[in-house]
Each structure stands twice: as C-alpha cells, then as structure tokens.
C-alpha cells in the first residue's frame, strides 16, 4: 500500500530476511561450487578467520590502531571545522574570506595528496593522520557553515530586540541552535573518515585493519580480507550508533514530543 506504515515486527522481519537471502545465496554458491572457493570462501570460514585473527594473531592491535587514527584525526578536524564553520555561517566577512579557499580544497580528492604527504611527513603516523584530516575537514566546515546559515533569522532578531549584544547572540542563540546539527554533520563525516582510513592503510601502512588485509592478499587469504571488511563495517555502525545516542543525550529537548 502506498505510504501506509507496517507493523514493527513486520518491518524487522523484512529487514532480517534480506540478510538471510544474501547469506543463503552466498552459502549455496559455495556448496554448489559456482564460485572459485579460493576467491570466495564460505561465510562461516570468514568468521573462523576473524576468530583466529583475534586469538592467534595481532588483529586487536590493528583494530585499536585504526580506531585511534580515526579518532585522532577526526578530533583534529572538528577542532578546526566547528569554530570556522560557525564563524563562516555567521559573519559574511569570514565567509567571503575563507569560503573560496575551503571550496577549492573540497574539489581536490584527498588521496591525490598521498605521495606528497609521504615525502613531507615520512612513513609514520603523520601522513595517515594528515590524509584523514584533509579528507574530512573541508567538507565538515562547509556542512557546519550551511547548518549555521539555517539558524532562523527570527531567533537572532528576537534576541537582539531583547537586548543581547552581538557576542551574546552568537554564544546564546547561534551556537546552541546549531549544535544538534553539528553533531549530525560529525556523524556524516565520520563515515567518510573511515573510508580514507582504509585507503591510507592499504596504500602506505604496515599496521591497522587495511594493512592486515593487504598482508592477507599476499597469501591469498580471502577469508581474512573479508573478516577485515566485516570489522570495518561493524566499527562504522558502532560509531554511527554512538553519535545517534549522543544526539539523544545532549539534545533531549528536541525529542520531547516522542515521550
């Protein structure tokens, strides 16, 4: 039925069934040997590979390093992007000055900087963190600027006619009004950060989830590669859930209608 809601149970059942179909198809393809088993291992083999990677290998260490890279570079990007985005969305001068620069960088694909970053920053953590930073910071600035511009002018004007100074309007109206959307922008860009992490670790790293997958490729361990993909997916999902949860906790006043 067009635009008619379905029950929660039905919704969950439908959501689970697509995964059942996916794994059944995978399993059947393996059982009837429709695929090269070396290239496509059965799903359970991916899970056992993941288990042995964690127990016998050093995979937890790789996961930890990857998480730290994402968090470290992302925090750096936020420290730069949140104030700049809010300033650019508030003051026309700040926008005119910075936006041509920020927009230009947005059009340059971050991986294009890998060779030069490697030359400038060596092979340690520097180039990886820099790539992740460059990959998200300009998009984050733009998103936050746009969200700041969307703060309704009536709120600002109300505050001015109540006697607030420019500075007070910025701190007590614009900032609190845009914060919920800043967290949404961060959630969106954190997903992008994971993408660049994998690129950085595949191209130039000996540690991290991406590096583990490249090592596995050398020994034709497709099950381990897939285990890596699985872990990245799960981590992305967990971080997304963390941000959703933070949004609800910090901005509970927006959810009052649902109580």
């Amino acid at each position: 039925m067009i635009r008619k809601p379905i029950s929660r149970t039905a919704s969950i059942l439908w959501g689970v069934s697509i995964w059942v179909i996916f794994f059944t198809a995978w399993e059947l393809a393996v059982i009837f040997e429709k695929v090269n088993l070396l290239l496509v291992p059965p799903p359970e083999k991916v899970l056992t590979a993941l288990y042995s990677l964690i127990v016998e290998g050093n995979f937890l260490n790789d996961i930890g390093i990857s998480i730290l890279r994402v968090i470290g570079s992302f925090l750096g990007a936020c420290v730069v992007a949140v104030p700049l985005g809010i300033l650019m969305g508030t003051f026309a001068t700040a926008e005119s000055f910075l936006n041509p620069f920020v927009s230009a960088w947005r059009y340059l694909p971050a991986p294009a900087f890998i060779p030069i970053l490697l030359m400038w920053l060596g092979t340690g953590e520097g180039p990886k963190l820099a790539l992740l930073f460059i990959g998200v910071v300009f998009f984050l600035i733009t998103l936050i600027m746009d969200y700041t511009r969307q703060v309704r002018i009536e709120l600002i004007e109300t505050s001015l006619t109540l006697g607030a100074s420019q500075k007070r309007v910025l701190w007590t109206v614009i900032v609190p009004a845009v914060l919920p959307n800043v967290v949404i922008a961060m959630r969106q860009m954190l997903a992008v950060s994971w993408t660049y992490l994998v690129i950085a670790e595949i191209v130039a790293s000996t540690t991290g989830i991406g590096a583990m997958m490249m090592r596995a490729r050398r020994f034709l361990h497709t099950d381990e590669i897939m285990a890596g993909i699985l872990v990245i997916g799960i981590l992305g999902l967990l971080f997304d859930l963390l941000f959703r949860w933070m949004h609800r906790v910090f901005f509970g006043y927006l959810y009052n209608n649902e109580r």
Binding site: E157, T158, L160, G163, S165, P176, F251, Y253, L254, N256
Partner: protein
C-alpha cells in the same frame, strides 16, 4: 507636524516621513514604503493594518531597528532609533522559542542579557508566566508546547524584559481560529493590567478593531499611510471580551469602513 508631538509628554513613538527603497542587483530601485508618518501615545495599542505587501511589516521592522529607513526618521522618547535594543521588544509570527531552554529560562533570557540579578529574574518571570497562564509549564521545553503556548512564552519573554514599546508582527497569524481568539482576549487583559505601549501589525480586521486603540491604515504599493485615527466605536474604552465588541453600536460601521478601504487597495493591486 510631528515635531509638535515631540514636545508632548505623552507621545512615545514618532515615525516621521519614513521611506524605504530597495535597490536590486541590476541597479533598479523599488519603493517599498513612501513618506510614512504617524505617532503612538504612551500606553496606546496602535495597529498597523493594510493589504498584504503594503509594507506595514517593514515599518514595524524599522521601528525595531532591524531595518534602517532610507529617508525620514523614527524617534522613541524623542531619541532617534539606531539598531535593535531592549527598548523595542519584538514578537514574531513564527515561533521564536529557544528550544534548548525551558519555558522559565526563555522568559528570563532578556533579563539575563540586561544584567537583572538571578533572584529578581525568577520573581519577574514567575509573575509574567502567571499572566500568560503558563506557570504549570515553567520547566517544560518548547517542543512540548502547542503553538498558542509558544506564542504566550514569546509574549511573556518580551513583557518581562520591560520594553518601552512592544512590537508584534502578526503574532497570532499562525494560530488556529479558536486559539487566536483566546490569545486576543488574553492580550486585551495583559495590556489592561500592565502599562504597555504596543504597535501590532495585522491584516485581520476583527483583530484590529478588537485590540486597537488606534488604527493606522496603509495603502499598497508603495505603502503609505492612508488613514490614521482612534478606533471610535469603543469611545476610548477598552473591550475585554470579543462579543462585547460586536454588540457596541458603531462596530459594524467601523468594520464595513475598513473592509471598503481594504477592497479598494486590493483592487488597485489586482489591476
């Protein structure tokens, strides 16, 4: 003529030959309002009425200091208005509750901006929350309130800040008919119990006649004052209940007169 008003103690607000011209990017100009003059007495409820697009909201925004007149000047208590400040508090048609603050904190906001001590803020906020009948909801967040309640928060917030003039831009325009009607009566009782000068923009004739002590009628394109005078059917008395207004002799004539004015302007715009 307006300069004479300046010497008169009871004159609160004077708009003197105000005009606003907008310049388009291609260099062409358009006169939004031309040569607007009127004045508002202390404690007067002045309604700016006129067809949509006549520039009455622009006039109100200029009084607020949110826009500057291209020509003429606007004086509050004899001083030329420069930019927005606490003396001219504005209530908008769209909801302006600060969602991240409780109802009580919303009402205290202006006082906090102006350095009123915490205890005093609390007392004043409690008083005005009582007036707008929201005491029970003082710890609620705006997302839990209905449209009419949000508008009452905005009114209490403005009143609590003790502005010299309250400016209202179609404050009940977004509300349903019944809520609107209740709000109009609430507004009538509020201005009776507090010393307030109000300038309100509306295009609702009934609302203008019920609440206004004076109606300034604007013609359209470019907007200018077409008629300006006290609401005579009330004999300088205020009416608290809507049907009482309807019962007064002269009400129907007053409404008919304004409708005719409205119609003449609409036809002009249409033609």
């Amino acid at each position: 003529m307006a300069t004479n008003f300046n010497k008169n103690d009871s004159v609160k607000l004077v708009v003197e030959n105000a005009g606003k011209t907008y310049t388009h990017n291609n260099g062409s100009t358009i006169d939004a309002i031309v040569d607007v003059s009127f004045s508002v007495q202390r404690n007067e409820y002045c309604v700016l009425l006129g067809p949509s697009g006549c520039g009455k909201s622009t006039v109100l925004r200029m009084v607020a200091g949110l826009e500057t007149p291209t020509t003429g000047r606007i004086l509050l208590d004899g001083k030329i208005i420069e930019g927005p400040d606490r003396h001219r508090g504005m209530v908008f048609q769209n909801y302006t509750s600060f969602d991240w603050l409780t109802v009580n904190k919303n009402v205290e906001y202006g006082m906090k901006c102006n350095g009123v001590a915490a205890r005093e803020r609390e007392q004043i906020a409690a008083h005005f929350l009582d007036i707008v009948q929201l005491t029970k909801f003082k710890d609620a967040y705006p997302s839990q309130l209905s449209g009419g309640m949000k508008q009452r928060v905005a009114i209490a917030r403005t009143l609590a800040n003790k502005p010299s003039v309250i400016l209202m831009d179609e404050p009940f325009g977004a509300l349903d008919a019944e809520t609107r009607w209740n709000m109009q009566e609430l507004m009538a009782s509020i201005i009776e119990s507090t010393d307030t000068t109000v300038v309100m923009v509306t295009h609702d004739i009934e609302e203008a006649l019920f609440l206004g002590d004076r109606i300034v009628f604007f013609s359209g394109h470019p907007g200018t004052v077409m008629e300006d005078g006290p609401v005579e059917y009330k004999n300088r008395q205020r009416v608290m209940i809507k049907e009482e207004a309807l019962d007064l002799p002269g009400y129907i004539e007053a409404e008919r007169h304004i409708m005719a004015l409205m119609r003449s302007q609409r036809q002009e715009i249409g033609g």
